[in-house]
Symmetry: C2
Subunit: 328 residues, 2 copies
Amino acid sequence: MKTKIGIIGYGNLGRGVELAVKETGDMELAAVFTRRDPKSVNIVTPSVPVVSSEKLLEYKDEIDVLIICGGSATDLPGQTPEYAKAFNVIDSFDTHANIPQHFANVDMAAKASGRVAFISVGWDPGMFSLARVYSNAILPGGKDYTFWGPGLSQGHSDAIRRIKGVADARQHTIPVKEALEAVRRGEAPGLTTGQKHTRVCYVVAEEGADKARIEKEIKEMPNYFADYDTTVNFISQEELNEKYSGMGHGGFVFRSGRTGKNHENNHVIEYSLKLDSNPEFTASVLVAYARAAKRLYDAGESGCKTVFDVAPALLCEQTPEELRAHLL
Amino acid sequence: MKTKIGIIGYGNLGRGVELAVKETGDMELAAVFTRRDPKSVNIVTPSVPVVSSEKLLEYKDEIDVLIICGGSATDLPGQTPEYAKAFNVIDSFDTHANIPQHFANVDMAAKASGRVAFISVGWDPGMFSLARVYSNAILPGGKDYTFWGPGLSQGHSDAIRRIKGVADARQHTIPVKEALEAVRRGEAPGLTTGQKHTRVCYVVAEEGADKARIEKEIKEMPNYFADYDTTVNFISQEELNEKYSGMGHGGFVFRSGRTGKNHENNHVIEYSLKLDSNPEFTASVLVAYARAAKRLYDAGESGCKTVFDVAPALLCEQTPEELRAHLL
């Protein structure tokens, strides 16, 4: 019997989850839940119901795993603990600093209900976190480096759009090639986030706006831009839509560490992603962890989990025998 | 209390394990077992006993995890099932085709004794297998590519040394840069192992040997060289010792796959290693899995396991809280 997946929140991520479920042989989409008028939401899979999120609890026995496709700022802190009271759930909570608090809230709810809840699943946090943990276990005395991009930063784009006179904007984060190559060569340099990345801004100014002031405000914005090599390009709305609205992203995780009697041998571990669609890739990770959530729940486990807490074989549709024969 | 590690077999790998244990805060070396005269074996750690392997069973209660540092061809198929009768064990069995049989033998022994046994731990099989499994789970319709090198191939070096007139030899496997770049660009080409690697041979000929014949025999050797772009360089023993006897190795694992309604979005996942010392890095992986073996045994588990069967958090000295706060 196939694992029945529910999606709550049908934006780019929810749609990606729907498509990722189609690529599996052991899962099927059971329902999509939305806060909008269900009649206004057109999904890709024929015959699957689109239901008001108010009716979610009515589907308690028809959903094996609920994939929560809300945002980390305002949706997930409330939704994930709430839905974990009745469902096995997965979210992609990505506010790194708040993960311990979110974990505690979700763990309490999921332990009380006897459900399994995975938080912070995706690529960072998610696959990048796994790269960091495995390489930390192997090279305990080493140094970690994470580079993001090239790709769109949603948070930085929002920050620019809040500036007076800005009609629209996109910010692309680009890894600094020389820094990346130095790390790859095993030089283990000391690097700040600003030394690892440049920020390129594509800005549509409102008619008559003072572009010099906008550029200055962007470049001097603390935390977001002041510590970076930042470039501001003023372009038309058409060019922005056409050239700079893609959802591509990616990045690089390195660990560099030494072994040997006198630490004479250097090792570099590198993990990288080059993604045409950030939400669709994130969704594909969420679906793999939905498979694991069902298996852990069936095995009697409960509580909050992260990617650190599940054996990789549980993510795969193949049997353990197939994995050992073909992928080990 | 620290986890007590035993090493059996004190060659390059065993010595690497000894050094890797020193890098941890939660493990200590309890004894080294050897088939040689213990008096002839000098180890790095003062005060740790070197013991004849015949006395291994006398140390049953003094070793938490025994790391078996023998070779896959003749040592491990017998040793790992044998030692799993009395110890939690880890090996680096790397004959891919024989893994299912080795797993079955070790699993039977470890289940009978109630011990935990990890097989095929290292980087391939090991870390490369993990890269393949995670990326297969995420992109089920994709394609896998593994490139090895640049680094020394022991098996191919041995094959050359068996040719008449060859005094010594080393074979370096080099990934083909154009093939690797095509995979990295997401072109998902069809590639044979021979199209992905070139083989460079450094050969010391015996005095008066027919070098043209040796070169022809190497290049025409089936399986080993016939399907590859092979280069043969005749050099002196001194040059071989000085320049081509290093233990560096590494390689690249890619998975390339598509998502989207019409599979319009491509994704490339890349994992790579650049290692100054193949045995010391392999040893560092073995030691991380020894930590997990102890934890699984303490939790009441038994039987044969691979890297696919353990949650990454169990490999780390840090607590789950520390991992979530700093590495997620």
